[in-house]
């Protein structure tokens, strides 16, 4: 049973507009969340993270929002650029009890940024 869900398999957005990617989780013990970006034929690369003590983390064009009560996080990309076209994975971990750093991953959202 998937503990991390990305319910939108794909997202198309115009260049310059905002991309919003959503992720839901079921395990209330998760306290550390990551977003990875993956291009075809490459491994996922780390994009941004957020700890459960925060509700927002920003890095340049990328902002992650965490709503613990709803068990929901989202990634905002503003403005979207053609190079942002990739698959985005949400991942979650229980860092408090799991020191090995195992993550549960969502199924991914394919983002296509159109000119």
């Amino acid at each position: 049973d998937q503990q991390v869900k990305q319910n939108s398999p794909s997202l198309s957005v115009q260049e310059g507009r905002i991309s919003i990617l959503n992720c839901d989780y079921t395990n209330s013990m998760f306290d550390y969340f990551l977003w990875y970006k993956k291009y075809p034929a490459e491994g996922p690369t780390f994009l941004i993270s957020i700890s459960s003590i925060k509700d927002k983390n920003e890095d340049g064009r990328f902002t992650v929002f965490l709503n613990k009560s709803a068990k929901h996080l989202s990634l905002h990309i503003v403005p979207s650029q053609p190079g942002d076209s990739a698959v985005y994975f949400c991942a979650a971990s229980d860092m408090t009890t799991d020191s090995w750093g195992k993550f549960q991953f969502g199924a991914g959202t394919q983002v296509v940024v159109t000119p």
């Binding site: 998937q2 991390v4 990305q6 398999p9 550390y32 990551l34 990875y36 034929a41 490459e42 491994g43 996922p44 690369t45 780390f46 993270s49 700890s51 994975f89 991942a91 860092m95 020191s99 090995w100 750093g101 195992k102 993550f103 991953f105 969502g106 199924a107 991914g108």
Partner: protein, 112 residues
């Protein structure tokens, strides 16, 4: 920059063969992981290792084994390959303490 290198980008094997996938990292990371990526399922953890000669099962270990004889190298073994093991295999490493995992570029394995 962390470098995680997987020995093959593409591999084609036959059912019943024993298959070895190799992964090497250059950052002295304690933890190493093997995932498979399938459409609609994301990344699923097969096995991980937290130290030399130490291993733990992930979520889908059936049909796989692993070996970690040196800190920098983590091998995934398909004991008797089957067609349902056709997939993209990704290796990752990290240091303990909240650091993100660093991934290799993956091995696209086809079992015929």
């Amino acid at each position: 920059d962390v470098k995680v290198t997987q020995s093959s980008r593409y591999l084609v094997k036959r059912t019943g063969e024993k298959v070895f996938l190799e992964c090497v990292q250059d950052m002295d990371h304690e933890n190493m992981f093997w995932y498979r990526q399938d459409p609609g399922l994301g990344l699923r953890l097969i096995y991980f290792s937290y130290d030399v000669k130490m291993k733990e099962k992930g979520d889908i270990p059936e049909g796989y084994s692993v070996s970690r004889e040196k800190k920098e190298r983590f091998s995934l073994i398909l004991e008797s390959a089957s067609t349902n093991q056709t997939s993209m295999y990704l290796c990752a490493s990290r240091s303990p303490g909240g650091q993100p995992q660093h991934f290799g570029d993956g091995t696209r394995l086809s079992i015929l």
